[in-house]
Amino acid sequence: MPVWHERTKALRASGKLKVIGITQEQHPERCLLFARWKGFDWPIGWDPFNITETKVVPRVTLIDEHGIVRATRANLSTFERSFVDQVFKAPAETPATVKPVPGTLAEASIAKKDSPERSYYDGLSALLWPAGRDGDKALHAITAYARSHPKDAAAQWRLGVAHRMRHDSDDRQDGDFQLAVRHWHAGLALDPAQYIYRRRIQQYGPRLDKPYPFYPWVAEAQKKLGKAAPTLRAPLTGSELAGRGEPAAAPDEKEPGGAKDIERLKDALEIESTIVWHTSAKRGTAARVHLQIRPAGRRILLWDAEAGPLTAWVELPEGWTVDRNRIDRALLGIDKVEEVVELDFEVRPPAGNVKPFEVTGYILFYACLERDGMCKYLRQDFEVKVPGHGK
């Protein structure tokens, strides 16, 4: 889009053209970071639920002064002559209100009060404009509508979006991310050609399902903007930075020395797992496992970030493979006591095997304990049950 931004600069300055944008991304602040980095000074709307029912992006639409669509795939080299310089006649009649398509959000928005359709619409609106509104009530309404409309692809997918929103909020509940993935898959299964639905899953999925890394530009943008960079609500995961053709992370297959002798705790960490399978079973059955690791309040006083990195060691049943057994992750610092550590790795079953399986392993970490304030090197084992593909 930077090319359109540059190409329309003079037209915007002269008032001959208004430019606006819409993005379907889950996290608006990422697009805001991109816009500030690129100098976009035109307004951009946030459409995480794909209320505009967009099938594919990018798309550039030209709309004349009477609100009539003049191009749905604008041409960079001809749009000024064929659109900006033209004078379009007003329609003979004022366009009647477009009748909403049955089953769409537009229809729900005009449904009578207290109907499930209206509650669904109100729920989506509440999550878009949340100030002073009840997010849990909104999620319940969206859930109820999706359950009563199991063949409505958009309703299934939007429920996933709503769960991911709660996952990124202070009110997150265990399983929100996995529920998001499940409903995104349900929406895509009902509408396999929906590019927006597919991309949302691929953002978190295995490498071979990725057309490109999604956010490789973020670090550069943050560096350039400095304090002007918006805070990212959700940290970038390894899967969002991994590209399709890139090799797996550099292997460091050495198991941490002396791991067996390190003091083990059972409930020092809360470890939540989310599994994201490839969007197409035909193209491979690899899955990405996401781990979210946070200190359990009662046992750990704080991460001891200065002592060393957190290390995860991952083991799979014989025949199954993982792109890396060992992951080392530096922690942010002593003042980030509640830092959530996000790790992800890719697992692949033996050919043709789509049965459930278990990933086991352990986390080694430096932390100071609540009980005596002592700072130690500790270990906590984990076990992740991976359902079969499509489950």
């Binding site: 359109w4 430019v19 946030w46 992006v57 537009a106 404009w129 949340p130 999604f214």
Partner: protein, 64 residues
């Protein structure tokens, strides 16, 4: 949802009652469906209606 609430403040109370964008792919020669969405900075609302009388170039994109 507390963080979400904090991140997306609404400046205009009337926005709460405003429908978000209407559904549907744009069709050549037809009116574009009304669009009402929060902006990515959470500070205002984007609407096509307010731009009536101007030529508009609408870019739908993702930063990825």
């Amino acid at each position: 949802m507390k963080l979400l609430l904090a991140c997306l403040p609404v400046l205009v109370a009337g926005v709460l009652l405003t429908p978000p964008a209407q559904a549907g792919e744009p069709t050549l020669g037809q009116p574009h469906a009304e669009v009402r969405l929060p902006t990515i900075d959470g500070l205002s609302t984007l609407g096509l209606e307010a731009l009536r009388g101007s030529k508009v170039l609408l870019i739908q994109f993702a930063s990825w």
